[in-house]
């Protein structure tokens, strides 16, 4: 259990140590094969924003088998850790932590559009319980970065009313779990009001906050609300996992005319990465190719991405070639990226932090079975958290969440 992410410090240490081992990515002579012109821009038409994909912080010790796998992928949809994102631009990029990336994205959008405002508990003077909004109240004022009383249902509804009348609020749930109190407003008004008003009112609201299992935070602070919200029609849900996509998704969510729920994770706020200096967004509906591979498709999101990549190291050493996709868009699913992967590998493993019952994985299994059943060589496997309130005790908490060893075992079983 050496490399599980039980603390913020451990997370940073684990990542920074492994990223230093992969940064001399010129250890892969096959890098040239990946540098086809379409490398950074997918086959689909894009909006006019510069899209620079980066996997700068991804870390894998690829042995010779890995390199062979690379040579087979002449035209990967996404890049690998072949270069820092800045190599495709003239500026050097800058390093920051994930919570700073979120703040940067938010700040840039607030500068760009005066209608963008923030509402939530302790977002103003306190700077946010995870410091995502630090300094913003001083810069933009107490009305634009509004410290609300503790009334989730009402201030979320207030954000919705503000959105209907022309503002673009970003509502923060101090912990995603608190938004259970706002379910009324999120379901009825956020999701449905555009429809019931016959399209007259738009709700360009962003609802964001940290969720997921942290470090012994107890059952109520360790909830995964994505599974509860996924049935609400009319909303989009995205989950960020790296500083790069955190900033990109934050900006895209703010610019979107749809209500978007952005799920952050308590343990990922201190991840460090070098991100581009220039303006970029990440497409809300697209998944992210983390590691192309041939043998099995592993679909994951948020913190589990790191457990998967940890397991991937072990798997590669054992001779497997997993393809890892961070689905990022929890609602709707990017069936194109997922489908292409399934058609290539014919085996699917889903690794998620949701509960087993009714989680994102359950929906994903249904979607894949419905659309790509013919391409599967084996039943889809799904590793989820146990259907258990997250216990306080560290040992018990570890056992509720999927660990890298289980992922390795699952892949071995799937690839028999």
């Amino acid at each position: 259990m050496a490399a599980t992410f039980h603390g913020v410090g451990a997370t940073v240490a684990a990542l920074s140590s492994s990223s230093s081992s992969s940064s001399p990515s010129n250890s892969f002579g096959s890098k040239k094969l990946l540098s086809s012109p379409s490398r950074s821009f997918s086959v689909r038409k894009r909006a006019s924003f510069t899209m620079v994909r980066s996997e700068g912080s991804m870390n894998f010790d690829l042995n010779s088998k890995g390199r062979r796998a690379q040579q087979l992928i002449a035209n990967a949809v996404a890049t690998k850790a072949d270069s820092s994102p800045a190599s495709s631009s003239s500026k050097p990029g800058h390093e920051l932590l994930l919570f700073e990336a979120l703040r940067e994205g938010l700040e840039e959008e607030m500068e760009r559009d005066p209608r963008v405002c923030v509402m939530g508990e302790d977002v103003g003077h306190y700077g946010g319980s995870y410091k995502v909004t630090k300094g913003l109240a001083t810069k933009f004022g107490d009305l634009r970065v509004l410290d609300t009383p503790i009334a989730e249902n009402s201030f979320t509804g207030m954000g919705i009313g503000a959105a209907m009348t022309g503002l673009r609020p970003v509502v923060e749930g101090m912990n995603m779990g608190f938004l259970l109190l706002a379910f009324n407003q999120i379901s009825n008004n956020c999701g449905m009001l555009h429809y019931t008003s016959g399209g007259q009112f738009t709700i360009p609201i962003v609802i964001r906050g940290p969720g997921g299992v942290g470090r012994q935070l107890g059952a109520e602070h360790s909830q995964r609300l994505e599974s509860y919200f996924q049935s609400i029609p009319g909303i989009q849900m995205v989950a960020c996992s790296t500083p790069y996509n955190a900033k990109g998704l934050m900006k895209a969510a703010i610019r979107s005319e749809n209500p978007v729920i952005l799920f952050e994770h308590v343990l990922l706020y201190n991840l460090k990465e070098r991100i581009p200096d220039e303006d970029y967004i990440c497409n809300l509906e697209e998944a992210e190719m983390v590691r192309p591979g041939e043998h099995v498709t592993i679909l994951t999101y948020s913190r589990m991405r790191y457990h998967v990549m940890q397991a991937a190291k072990t798997l590669v050493n054992k001779g497997y070639d997993p393809e890892v996709i961070d689905i990022r868009s929890l609602k709707p699913f990017d069936l194109y990226t997922i489908g292409n992967s399934v058609k290539k590998t014919h085996r699917v493993l889903i690794v998620e932090e949701c509960m087993r019952t009714g989680g994102i994985g359950a929906s994903l299994i249904a979607a894949i079975t419905e659309n790509f059943n013919d391409y599967l060589d084996a039943p889809i496997m799904c590793l989820s958290s146990q259907d258990v309130p997250t216990p306080y005790a560290g040992t018990l908490e570890e056992w509720t969440v999927v660990q890298p060893a289980q992922i390795v075992a699952a892949v071995e079983q799937l690839c028999q």
């Binding site: 249902n153 009402s154 209907m164 008003s197 016959g198 979107s256 509906e285 069936l335």
Partner: protein, 339 residues
């Protein structure tokens, strides 16, 4: 007020003839509150209501045709037939709904008031003095959202008026059985805003109070809580047998019918003649008949409308297996795609 009464009576007729379905909540008896308040507003001011929203919509300026069509579920309705009786919206007239769950609209109204303040103070639109009115009932005054919003509105001095239409009954629950302190207007000062009680059956008294409250909000002095004592002559909805209410109580309030009262006042003070009033009645009847005709003749929504308006940006339906956005699939515009 006449329009409201005639319209609601027509709704009842149409309902029993099978032209509209579901839950329909009629406003008969409460017209003074709607007229007294909303007729003082500008077009850019906002109104937020509940499921008992037909007359609020009419008062705010939504054409009777649009409301009737919406009730018939036709595509010419103000919400294209997608909202129904309980979800009347109009962007043009700043009617922000129409909400089915009680208390749900109050935060939305608070948000609209927040936008007004934001426009003035952050966006520097110095002349923005838009006011928001939130209408809701006595039952709602025991709900958390009510109290939470009173707090926030007073805290930030939002330009909003909270109008309680206290008709003493929440379906079959008497206000006195549900509320520890039934005098709702007293709850205003607890949050730092004036709380005013007014006879909601007298449109002129309501208007006086409304002028004050709306004036306060417009000048940036903050919110007001106004409790209007009123009564609904019909049941909670057209499905309510209305067996619990005491006939004596009903008779008492029927004698205080706001329309009859105002007619009497106009005649006694020589502000209008019998003939004038009859002419108004006739004109309104024509408007309502026309609305019904229009609604009858309007088309029902076709299947192609099913998937529209779910998202403002239909890219939200995601990317399909073929790499294209699903909303580009022709089945979407036909309404036959499965989402």
């Amino acid at each position: 007020m006449i329009l409201g009464r005639a319209f609601e009576d027509m709704c009842a007729q149409m309902y029993y003839r099978g032209k509209m379905f579901g839950f329909v909540h009629l406003y008969n008896g409460q017209e003074a509150v709607s007229t007294g308040f909303i007729k003082l507003l500008k077009q850019q001011d906002s109104v937020v209501s509940t499921y008992r929203d037909h007359v609020h919509a009419l008062s705010k300026g939504v054409p009777a045709r649009a409301v009737m069509s919406e009730l018939f579920g036709k595509t010419t309705g103000c919400c294209r037939g997608q909202g129904g009786s309980m979800h009347m919206f109009s962007r043009e007239h700043n009617l922000l709904g129409g909400f089915a769950f009680i208390g749900e609209g109050i935060p939305v109204a608070t948000g609209a008031a927040f936008t007004s303040k934001y426009k003035r103070e952050v966006l520097k639109e110095a002349d923005c003095d838009h006011v928001t009115l939130a209408f809701f009932g006595d039952g709602t005054c025991n709900n958390g959202q009510f109290f939470e919003c009173l707090n926030m509105a007073a805290l930030w001095k939002l330009p909003i008026v909270f109008v309680v239409e206290n008709n003493l009954w929440a379906i079959g629950m008497s206000h006195l059985r549900a509320t520890s302190d039934p005098q709702i207007y007293k709850k205003g000062p607890a949050f730092g805003m004036p709380g005013i009680h007014v006879d909601g059956m007298d449109v002129l008294k309501v208007r006086e109070v409304a002028k004050d409250a709306i004036g306060r909000a417009r000048r940036g002095e903050g919110p007001t809580l106004v409790e209007c004592e009123t009564y609904r002559f019909r049941g909670h909805s057209l499905a309510d047998p209305d067996e619990l209410r005491d006939p004596a109580e009903k008779a008492h309030y029927a004698a205080r019918d706001p329309i009859t009262a105002l007619k009497k006042y106009l005649i006694e003070n020589s502000l209008a003649s019998e003939a004038d009033l009859k002419a108004i009645d006739k004109k309104i009847d024509e408007v309502v008949e026309d609305a019904v005709e229009f609604a009858d003749e309007s088309p029902v929504p076709s299947q192609s409308q099913l998937l529209e308006n779910v998202f403002a940006d239909p890219k939200g339906f995601g990317i399909g297996p073929d790499g294209r956005y699903r909303c580009e699939d022709p089945k979407f515009t036909e309404g036959t795609a499965h989402v």
